[in-house]
């Protein structure tokens, strides 16, 4: 059972209050009809499935209800950070340097 920091509640809480919501920063195209079948497939189905730091979404579904983003290492399952939905993809190298 993971331990997750909700950036909205500013609390670190057990995984059972949260729902995983897939890879983050895959924005819905503004005009889907302008996309080729391949581009639309990429949006629908192609996933990074990163081994290591993974940008992903969670929802604090049994809590504040907010969707938010996280970077989690998929090898250790450890969260590197969480941040609010809509925030830009953080640059991990900067974060590491700061630590």
């Amino acid at each position: 059972m993971l331990l997750i920091h909700c950036p909205y509640c500013d609390e670190t809480l057990p995984e059972s209050e949260f729902a995983y919501a897939g890879e983050a920063h895959i924005n819905r195209p503004a005009d889907p009809s302008a996309l080729s079948d391949e581009e639309w497939r990429d949006y629908l189905f192609i996933r990074t499935n990163a081994r290591g730091p993974h940008y992903e979404r969670w929802r604090h579904i049994h809590g504040c209800g907010r969707f938010f983003n996280a970077v989690r290492d998929t090898v250790s399952d450890r969260f590197l950070m969480t941040y609010e939905a809509g925030e830009a993809r953080p640059d991990l190298t900067v974060k590491e340097a700061a630590e």
Partner: protein, 417 residues
């Protein structure tokens, strides 16, 4: 290769088992192969075996980052069945079943394929409709699968609780008699031994770091921890790690890797005669030939490469088992473990050619690819040898995610009212 038989066993017993030979040698990579297969699971080893046996291509290396069979082949609940709904799937899995039937003899390795029957429980009207649909479709596809009343189900599997008061009462079941289990490790070892006997190199503890492509885009070989290995054809059969390997060839995949857990109980005398699956309650169970109850759990919600998994999920699984089989409440869990399964959007495999010349892929089996091992390996070998789809694997392309021609068994069983 020493032929295995009761006689050879007896002969060796009399000489203190000193004369058994290696089942496969500890190969070191050569500079070049005709075909390199990434991943020494059942699928990869099987493909190598069929390449050698049926296509005469023996200059083949199977490369694994760890010990052979240490991926999902070595950690699955070994359920084998072919009563799938769609023609494409039924054909593929039934082809595998045909091969399972004689696999021990073919490989001269007892893989203990046990046709104990797989029974799938229906707990609500929707399940009944869905399973009936399977039964009918299977019948017309020539795949064995029949409907049991709940009393028949109980007679077939006495530990089953069919009380109408259960939270999820059993309303009937679909039974495939030809289905069952096999000894997971023996499948990997049997293929490894038989492939090695035909000249295939099995290279362990050698992670493939990248697939190298030439200026024209075609495959040139693989970079590994033991150096570059040249090959015009590379087949990736890396299960949970497929995305990472394919990414190195510049091919992005419609895959996500999740931790999937399983567990065994302490061993007991025979009590459970078949395999039972309940999708609604999320319980999968059989008894192994060593006596443990082998129980499958679900995937954790998040992607992971950690081969671990959480406790709550296991608690749910065990509760589900005890709901359906209340006599097991005082049994004890001996061990639980995790594997990494790669899941496609339609939960069917991707099997065959890729947009890259010389690159083939066999992945996306999710929680259910052990049963397909001989079938997938057999048809992949064909595709690699001939550079064209086998009629059976032809529908399982990558293109289907572009065109929308998905093979979605899970969606077909979708629960909604």
């Amino acid at each position: 290769m020493t032929h295995f038989s009761a006689m050879s066993l007896l002969r060796n017993a009399l000489t203190g088992h000193k004369n058994w030979r290696e089942q496969w040698p500890d190969s070191q990579p050569k500079a070049e192969y005709d075909v390199v297969i990434v991943g020494a699971g059942g699928h990869g080893l099987g493909a190598a075996y069929y390449l050698a046996k049926e296509h005469g291509i023996t200059n083949v290396a199977v490369i694994d980052k760890g010990w052979l069979g240490g991926g999902n082949t070595g950690r699955n609940t070994t359920i084998i069945r072919s009563n799938y709904l769609y023609d494409e799937s039924a054909r593929l899995y039934d082809h595998a079943l045909d091969l399972w039937e004689n696999l021990s003899q073919e490989l001269n390795y007892n893989v203990m394929y046990s046709k104990r029957g797989v029974m799938m429980l229906a707990h609500n009207v929707h399940d009944v409709q869905s399973f009936q649909r399977h039964v009918h479709s299977n019948r017309l596809n020539g795949v064995d699968n029949r409907w049991l009343t709940k009393e028949e189900a109980k007679a077939f599997c006495p530990p089953l609780n069919i009380s109408p008061d259960a939270r999820y009462p059993v309303m009937g079941a679909a039974l495939q008699m030809r289905a069952g289990t096999a000894r997971h490790d023996a499948v990997a070892w049997g293929y490894a031994r038989a492939a090695a006997a035909r000249g295939v190199d099995i290279i362990q503890n050698c992670p493939v770091i990248a697939i190298r492509r030439g200026p024209d885009g075609s495959v040139q070989g693989v970079d590994t921890a033991k150096g570059f290995i040249k090959a015009k054809k590379v087949a990736v059969s890396a299960a949970g790690n497929t995305s990472v390997v394919m990414d190195s060839a510049g091919v992005r995949m419609p895959l996500e890797s999740f931790p999937l857990q399983a567990l065994v109980s302490e061993p007991v005398k025979p009590i459970f005669p078949c395999v039972v699956m309940s999708n609604t309650v999320h319980a999968y169970i059989s008894q192994s030939d060593k006596g443990e109850l082998v129980i499958g759990s679900g995937t954790d919600q998040y992607t992971s490469y950690s081969q671990r998994g959480g406790l709550p999920l296991i608690e749910h699984t065990v509760a589900a088992i005890c709901e359906v089989f209340p006599i097991f409440n005082r049994m004890r869990m001996l061990r639980k473990w995790g594997g990494i399964v790669d899941v496609t959007p339609d939960r069917s495999a991707i099997l065959g050619k890729t947009p890259v010349e010389g690159l083939y892929v066999n992945c996306g089996w999710g929680t259910g690819g052990f049963k397909a091992t001989p079938g997938a390996a057999h048809t992949l070998a064909w595709t690699v040898a001939k550079d064209e789809p086998h009629p059976i694997n032809a529908p399982f392309t990558l293109e289907r995610f572009t065109t929308g021609r998905l093979i979605d068994e899970a969606a077909a069983a979708a629960v909604a009212h």
